[in-house]
Symmetry: C2
Subunit: 208 residues, 2 copies
DNA sequence: TGAGTGGTGTTCAAACTTGACTACCGAGTT
DNA sequence: AACTCGGTAGTCAAGTTTGAACACCACTCA
């Protein structure tokens, strides 16, 4: 129980960005997330990023690795993953991809790092998620049919249920299709020769 | 600018629950939200409810209206809406139903209080939302076609875009259909004779 | 009788998010 | 030369959420 139980999108994104860079300071992480579009779909604000970094440092997921060489402006502290940081990353990534009730941003973060793991594992996690989603959809549908909303006072709250069902169906088919694509060999996953996006040191090898 | 700019689902739900009750203490609000299923789809925890009450009190949206008569246990402070509370409720409700980029829980809270306003107004707000959703969908689609993700590093992040598009389509058709149902006279809205769910004093008239 | 269980009603600390703000630097421009 | 503008890098206070804990009561059930 030493620390990381929180499952927020920010945590995963920040951890993953540091991991992909190998070693990074706050602003680098921020730019990285920006370039992935993460500031739009999750809405990760600068403040949250710096907070997450301090937090991850404090709980031993990150260690500080000196300050940047070039220039002498404000302290640009560099961070890198520790071993428990790596474990936490794997834990969060698994949760994000497998938990049917995870929030969309968290799932989104999971997808971002989809290729940081072996293909088999990714498919397994997504299958788990699919099963969960289908279970949820089933129970929503049977509620609608039985007319058994918990203490169904307001008639029009059915609307809400209908909307969850529609959204859920979309999630199910999306997950199903993604699994299929992965099984047909889409994308370069971790350990498949090519440089998989987000892998450790990906920034250094694939980019400048 | 006096106070309420935050647009959280909790705020709207708590305000609406007090409004519907006419006068309520924390636990009543909590039970009310529970009975609407709000603790599931939004995930409103007790702590947040009490916090929201204190906050709304502090900023003048609620006033305290004595303590409950029966029993003498802990202080069961009663709250009721002030005029600016009423304004805030309308403001939040409008935002929740009209803003295309509102979070799902916030929209859900809006739907819960859908019938607290005249039919025309509800339809207008939802139409506005529909337009926003369609605009968003359009720009997402053109991004996919142009291949112009902001700085499209990771190939598989397209997956994410695909998933937003699918979810967005679902939201569009849901909103469209809801508007249609409303135009065909579904549900009893505020000011239409029958007791509309969630209206002021609804708890006292429609329930015990 | 006393041991647990479940509901009522609330508080609290710790974590997290948010938006605004600071401060510096270099490029252009008026 | 002074001025603005945008990018870099980060802090801060205020608000919000979360999970757990507290305290008290009524009930059962052995």
């Amino acid at each position: 129980m030493h620390g990381g139980v929180a499952m927020s999108a920010t945590r995963l994104l920040v951890l993953g960005a540091v991991r992909a860079s190998g070693r990074a300071h706050g602003y680098q992480v921020r730019r990285e997330l920006l370039s992935w579009g993460a500031e739009q779909w999750a809405s990760v604000k600068p403040g949250s990023i710096y907070h997450a970094l301090r937090q991850l440092l404090k709980s031993g997921m990150l260690r500080s690795a000196g300050v940047e060489e070039s220039g002498e402006g404000p302290e640009r502290t560099l961070f890198e993953l520790t071993e428990s940081g790596e474990e936490e990353f794997v834990r969060l990534l698994s949760k994000a991809l497998s938990d049917a009730s995870a929030k969309p941003e968290f799932f989104g973060a999971g997808i971002t790092f989809l290729t940081c793991q072996p293909r088999e594992r990714a498919v397994g996690l997504l299958r788990f998620r699919l099963a969960g989603l289908e279970r949820e959809q089933g129970s929503l549908r049977s509620m609608l049919e039985d007319g058994a909303v918990p203490a169904a006072k307001p008639e029009h709250v059915w609307e809400l249920f209908r909307s969850w069902i529609v959204a859920g169906d979309a999630a199910v088919s999306f997950t199903r299709e993604l699994i299929e694509r992965l099984e047909n060999g889409a994308y370069t996953m971790a350990g498949e020769g090519g440089a998989a996006f987000g892998e450790r040191g990906w920034m250094s090898s694939a980019q400048g």
